[in-house]
């Protein structure tokens, strides 16, 4: 993997998220615990809600527009309607959040 440093863990509020811009759209980086982060695509497949603005609970996020809930592990929605968002490798090292450059590049190629 080809890790790229995108910022400090404390720049993402606990139980909150920040956006990361890429050439092909926004990712949302979630912080669900002190050193627990997830990276997923920011757009809700339902009506394009910005997931980074949703309420974060356990390892899930609720879309701010129409309350679709996504599991950040699998990217799959919970509930009747089935949606999926892309998930990306992310990790925390010495307080820095690292994204996988290759995974983002693959997204742009796709």
């Amino acid at each position: 993997m080809n890790w790229i440093d995108i910022g400090h863990i404390d720049d993402v509020p606990l139980r909150g998220a920040r956006q990361v811009k890429t050439k092909v759209g926004c990712l949302a980086v979630f912080r669900t615990g002190e050193t627990e982060v997830f990276a997923v695509s920011n757009l809700c497949p339902h009506k394009g809600g910005p997931l980074s603005e949703g309420i974060v609970h356990e390892q899930k996020v609720t879309c701010p527009l129409h309350n679709t809930i996504f599991d950040l592990n699998s990217g799959e929605s919970l509930g009747v309607d089935e949606y999926r968002i892309d998930t990306y490798p992310v990790r925390v090292e010495d307080g820095r959040i690292l994204l996988d450059r290759d995974a983002i590049a693959q997204r742009s190629a796709a």
């Binding site: 910022g7 606990l14 050439k23 309420i55 742009s108």
Partner: protein
């Protein structure tokens, strides 16, 4: 015989010497250096020495006789000056010692926060016997006070021990919960509660600014201005591997001395063991892996094959009565699932973390009996898919135990006030039940509990159920959400009765089934806490819907709308120019709203702080068009202009808006003030409407013009503006304190009855007390949220964390 020199007589090197001598007493001619003027003792038992439960003699692991018997040359109290690895000699203060094999066991030293005053006498760490003795001496003075900086394992053991010695102890911890490395917030909450019960003051998110004193510690000052007078300060904020000697000797170090799985450094014939080593990037602080290392190094030095393997660890706190256990990975990792169990009645919290059908982490508080069983499942990576459903109940689960939905009410003490209106305690209700009142009607008749506003009905029924068991059939009630078994009304009442002042307290004491709620319950609980405890609870933006977090209304395309406040609908040319300029600058669509203000639509999130700044410069503040709070006070022009006007309706509207703005309410609140009964401000379909008449003012409440349309009902007629403001404020506060989250005023009034509202507000003392409590809340919350967030340090949070648009193109 080969010469072995060991630098440092700590727990790891002590174990190493034991192992070598046990295997082959003739293997080495051993010299042991120690900077402390004594040999090996059990450092982790310093807490009982500090508390007085043990003496130093009891924790010595190797005494002089043992060293003599095993012919170990002890050079205690002598520092090693340097090591010459070319000549293979260790140079001590009193001379050189040649070696064939050299072991670094230099351990670690306490990290001391370099704040002003850290070097004053009376500031100690909690690492060695000297520190312990200094603290014991300070505790000898009657009424002595201690400040412990650091709420980790070591700091809390020190705090508990000093408390046992009779000191007044305050623990300062920088994080949001105690022992954040080993515990999650829920267990941290219970631990804090237990420590507070034994008289220890715990201050979280406390940042030490300086330690002051004239020649000796006298006081600790915090960054927030708090001053803590004290006789001793114990710093227990962490440890640092002691590696200076190794570094100076040219031995490869990272954060500590780098070793391989045989405990070899990168320099031939030089080894390291204990807290001073780094293996595979990891450092070591707990005793179990240190003993493992000592065992491996002993074999290596005896030319036997052995490999160091990192093991799963578990933590227990050595404080009597604080029963906690944690193991494995519960704070990091992906693809995991939680099982949470809480029993508020017994103060129990358990959380298991599962990944791929394996238990990978466990945190427990209050009942840790199954800790070792869970630890075993973690260590052995046992497949738990078959026992998953009942896993949390432990190995002795027989199939009966379930989470009791009545647990929170069962846990209440008899003096807990169930009915706030009539001051009826749980004990009174139980007495009435025992005297034969076995249904809700009988309870109402005999105790008046739930006979007024009725909000506590659910709790009274639960007391009936807890007391009567199967003889009482509990009516089905709609819980807040899937996270708990209680209704909104129950939760509100219990937050007040039990004085729950944090989210963690609510989750634990009310038996939440999830770690931190969901998008349904968390905004509600956040509101209840801030409404009931404005001075104690801090609003949590992460428990708010996007609009209230970003202080603007999100639109379907992800842009925002920005709406400045126009007090009572009045504006000026200067304000309109500023609004027009902002609209042009940020490309806004401009819309005049139904609430008498101007909406700027289509603003990008990144631009919000800048447009707020511009509007602030023109004297405007947030219109809160996005909150469950005061929206607008709609007015007509009143008697200054209108030929029918009876009073200054615009002026009164502005006064009401200035009083109520920026307060949080269960749902949005809209007001109207009309200057005469022609009612041009449409006041009679608002949450609160005021109609001016010749004789004064008619205040009416509980109107609606949304999904439901309802006319307001008269609350009171008064003669003066001041009385309008007092009654209106008191009504808003009564609504804030009692309504279910997301009930508009008309829905709440329908539930509690307008008569009850009238009766309550008609009492002068009650009404004034409500206004007073509203004012206290406003002292915290009546600030312009835009001005705060337009500051550069806050504004940056509205921008993306990173921009990888160039990166992705590579």
């Amino acid at each position: 015989m080969q010469k072995l020199v060991v630098i440092g007589a700590g727990m790891a090197s002590g174990r190493l010497l034991e192992q070598i001598i046990a295997a082959n007493p003739a293997a080495y001619d051993i010299t042991l250096f120690n900077a402390e003027p004594r040999g090996n003792y059990n450092r982790i038992m310093l807490s009982p020495v500090l508390s007085g439960e043990k003496s130093y003699g009891e924790i010595v692991t190797h005494d002089d006789a043992w060293y003599a018997e095993n012919r170990i040359t002890c050079r205690f109290g002598e520092k090693v000056v340097s090591v010459d690895t070319d000549r293979k000699v260790v140079i001590g203060e009193k001379g050189e010692v040649p070696y064939d094999k050299l072991v670094f066991g230099t351990g670690s030293s306490a990290f001391i926060i370099p704040c002003p005053g850290h070097d004053l006498p009376g500031v100690v760490a909690f690492r060695d016997l000297e520190d312990t003795t200094a603290m014991t001496e300070a505790a000898g003075k009657p009424g002595a006070r201690a400040v412990v900086i650091g709420g980790g394992l070591l700091g809390l053991e020190a705090a508990a021990a000093l408390r046992l010695r009779g000191m007044e102890v305050t623990v300062l911890h920088i994080s949001t919960h105690l022992m954040e490395r080993q515990l999650d917030p829920a267990a941290g909450y219970l631990l804090k509660k237990d420590l507070e019960k034994r008289g220890i003051t715990v201050m979280l998110e406390a940042s030490t600014k300086e330690i002051v004193g004239n020649g000796r510690v006298e006081q600790v000052n915090l960054a927030d201005g708090t001053e803590l007078p004290c006789d001793i300060v114990c710093m227990a904020v962490g440890i640092r591997p002691s590696v200076k000697l190794a570094q100076d000797s040219g031995i490869a170090c990272g954060r500590a001395i780098k070793v391989d799985a045989q405990m070899r450094t990168q320099t031939p014939d030089v080894y390291a063991v204990g807290e001073c080593v780094e293996y595979n990037g990891a450092l070591f602080g707990l005793v179990a892996p240190l003993y493992d290392q000592a065992k491996v190094l002993a074999k290596t030095l005896l030319d036997e094959e052995e490999t160091f393997v990192m093991r799963e660890l578990s933590t227990k706190l050595k404080v009597t009565g604080c029963d906690l256990f944690s193991s494995g990975d519960f704070a990091e990792g992906e693809g995991r699932e939680d099982i949470v169990f809480r029993d508020p009645a017994r103060g129990i919290y358990k959380r298991l973390v599962i990944e791929n059908d394996r238990l990978i982490g466990a945190v427990m508080y209050g009942d840790t009996a199954d800790g070792n069983w869970f630890f075993g499942l973690i260590k052995d990576a046992t497949d738990i898919s078959d026992i998953r459903e009942t896993l949390i109940f432990g190995p002795s689960f027989q199939g009966g135990a379930q989470v009791d939905p009545l647990s929170a009410v069962a846990a209440l003490p008899p003096e807990a006030e169930i009915c706030g209106c009539n001051g009826v305690c749980k004990g009174n209700i139980i007495k009435a039940i025992e005297a034969g009142a076995t249904d809700l009607g009988a309870i109402k008749a005999t105790t008046k509990a739930s006979a007024s506003c009725g909000t506590c009905t659910g709790l009274v029924e639960q007391v009936l159920s807890v007391t009567l068991g199967d003889d009482f059939v509990l009516p089905a009630a709609q819980p807040v959400c899937g996270c708990c078994d209680l209704t909104h009304e129950d939760v509100r009442r219990l937050i007040k009765v039990q004085e729950l002042k944090s989210q963690e307290a609510v989750w634990q004491e009310l038996g939440w089934k999830t770690r931190n709620g969901c998008h349904v319950c968390r905004p509600a609980v956040n509101y209840y806490l801030l409404a009931d405890w404005p001075l104690d609870y801090t609003d949590d933006p992460q428990s708010r819907f996007v609009n209230e977090r970003n202080h603007a209304n999100i639109q379907k395309d992800g842009t925002y709308s920005v709406m400045p406040r126009m007090w009572g609908g009045m504006t000026t040319p200067q304000e309109l120019i500023a609004i027009a300029q902002a609209a042009e600058k940020y490309g806004a669509t401009v819309k005049v709203t139904g609430g008498m203000r101007i909406d700027l639509l289509g603003i990008q999130k990144e631009d919000l702080p800048a447009i707020w700044y511009d509007l602030n410069q023109a004297g405007m503040v947030s219109g809160h068009a996005y909150t469950k709070g005061l929206r607008t006070v709609k007015t007509c022009v009143g008697k200054d202009w209108c030929r029918f006007g009876t009073q200054d309706s615009t002026g009164l509207g502005i006064k009401l808006e200035k009083k109520l703005w920026a307060s949080w309410t269960p749902h949005k609140v809209k007001l109207g003030v009309s200057g005469c009964p022609r009612n041009c401000a449409e006041a009679t379909c608002k949450d609160i409407g005021v109609i001016c008449v010749d004789s004064g003012y008619q205040v009416s409440v509980a109107g609606a013009a949304g999904m439901d349309v309802r006319e307001t009902e008269r609350l009171v007629d008064v003669a003066t503006e001041d009385e309008v403001i007092e009654w209106t404020t008191a009504f808003v506060q009564l609504y804030r304190e009692n309504a279910k989250y997301l009930d508009r005023a008309y829905k709440w009034v329908a539930k509690v009855g307008l008569d009850w509202v009238k009766e309550t507000l008609a009492d002068d003392a009650t009404r004034r007390a409500l206004v007073e409590r509203f004012d206290i809340s406003q002292s915290v919350y009546q600030v312009d949220p835009w001005a705060e967030r337009a500051q550069p340090a806050e504004a940056v949070k509205f921008h993306p964390l990173a921009d990888l648009t160039k990166e992705a193109a590579e």
